[in-house]
């Protein structure tokens, strides 16, 4: 029996995280829920704890990559074989969790994609080119048809969880782009399924042309670095950090 852990990275999301957690609990009542409080200065941690979920509290902000790596480590140490990332801002619809996780029987990584037909999410200009470029390159590398490589709404099966607990990229865009490069090099199967995104319940996406241009450049940078850093498969077998050990005796 596969055990599912829903990981919710959260940075100052006190306003939206409560309903998100309640929705997740309603859709997958048997799954473990882990909020990774990424150094929030607001009440995120307290709101999450009030929902009776597990909370990892990072002492300072590490970014999504660092938060997710901690989440994957938590999964490995506590005997969870599947992980799905759901953002705390309410953008990812928890109702689609079972659909993504269901596909893990066929693939190691299932990405919920925004441009694959469903939903209304649209990006323009440089940001759109960047997404196209990333999608084109990662499609080539993973041999899976990908259109939205930067979606954070993704499920990971046992092999991916094991890999990411050790090597989850922590640089900007690394958590989405570089992680797929690593997965492809490690021979994992990647697939994407169309999802609809909900309107964010708080905050709004940053969309000035200048920021979009910077985003494009950083995307290219992230791809180049990922490819250079992980040239050989051999690297994937070497632990760069402390070994991740399972504490089965503690998970009673």
């Amino acid at each position: 029996m596969e055990r599912l852990l829903v990981v919710v990275p959260a940075y100052n999301e006190e306003a939206s995280i409560g309903p998100v957690l309640a929705d997740i609990r309603a859709v997958v009542p048997d799954a473990g829920i882990l909020v990774v409080d990424d150094g929030s200065s607001d009440d995120t941690r307290r709101v999450a704890l009030a929902q009776q979920v597990h909370v990892l509290t990072l002492p300072f902000n590490l970014g999504v990559g660092g938060a997710m790596r901690a989440g994957f480590r938590y999964a490995v140490r506590n005997g969870y074989s599947q992980v799905i990332q759901v953002d705390a801002d309410g953008q990812h619809d928890p109702k689609q969790i079972p659909m993504l996780v269901g596909r893990l029987s066929e693939s190691d990584i299932v990405i919920g994609a925004r441009f694959a037909g469903a939903g209304e999410y649209q990006a323009r200009g440089p940001r759109r080119w960047a997404m196209r470029l990333l999608a084109w390159y990662l499609t080539r590398l993973t041999r899976a048809r990908l259109t939205d490589a930067t979606s954070g709404f993704r499920a990971s099966g046992p092999r991916a969880v094991e890999l990411f607990a050790r090597h989850y990229p922590v640089e900007y865009l690394g958590d989405t782009v570089e992680s797929l490069v690593i997965a492809a090099l490690a021979g994992l199967r990647v697939e994407q399924v169309p999802v609809t995104m909900r309107v964010r319940s708080t905050g709004r996406p940053s969309q000035t042309p200048f920021k979009a241009m910077v985003y494009l450049l950083r995307a290219c940078m992230a791809l180049a670095m990922a490819r250079l850093r992980w040239r050989s498969k051999r690297l994937l077998e070497v632990d760069e950090l402390a070994p991740v050990t399972t504490h089965k005796e503690d998970s009673i």
Binding site: T57, P59, L62, R69, V170, L241, A242
Partner: protein, 112 residues
């Protein structure tokens, strides 16, 4: 011996004394101290033997010997900054790993 050489000599001596003092108080890791001690020694040597710069510059076909000094200084500083970037990257990686570890431990502790 003219004024410039005395300044170089005194400068070299001050660097050496300063490094020894920092090292003695445990304010500087050995690996960095060694680097700056070598720089101090180099400055002192050129202060003591002013002709040395010319002797090195001539076979290298450097017309103006002070240029060699400036060039060498720049190369050394470049290498030092690259090394420091490398060190700080490594430290940041370790800090991140520790932060994650602290979060995992805290969660387990608070569960009891």
């Amino acid at each position: 011996m003219n004024g410039v050489h005395i300044i170089a000599l005194v400068g070299g001596a001050l660097i050496l004394i300063g490094m020894f003092e920092l090292l003695r108080r445990g304010q500087l890791r050995e690996k960095y101290a060694v680097l700056w001690l070598l720089v101090g020694v180099a400055v002192a040597v050129f202060g003591l033997f002013p002709g040395l710069l010319n002797d090195i510059a001539q076979p290298l076909h450097i017309a103006d010997p002070p240029n060699l000094l400036l060039f060498a200084g720049n190369v050394v500083l470049l290498l030092v900054t690259v090394h420091l970037s490398w060190e700080s990257t490594r430290m940041e990686d370790r800090t991140r790993a520790l932060a994650e570890e602290v979060a995992l431990l805290r969660e387990r502790l608070e569960q009891r």
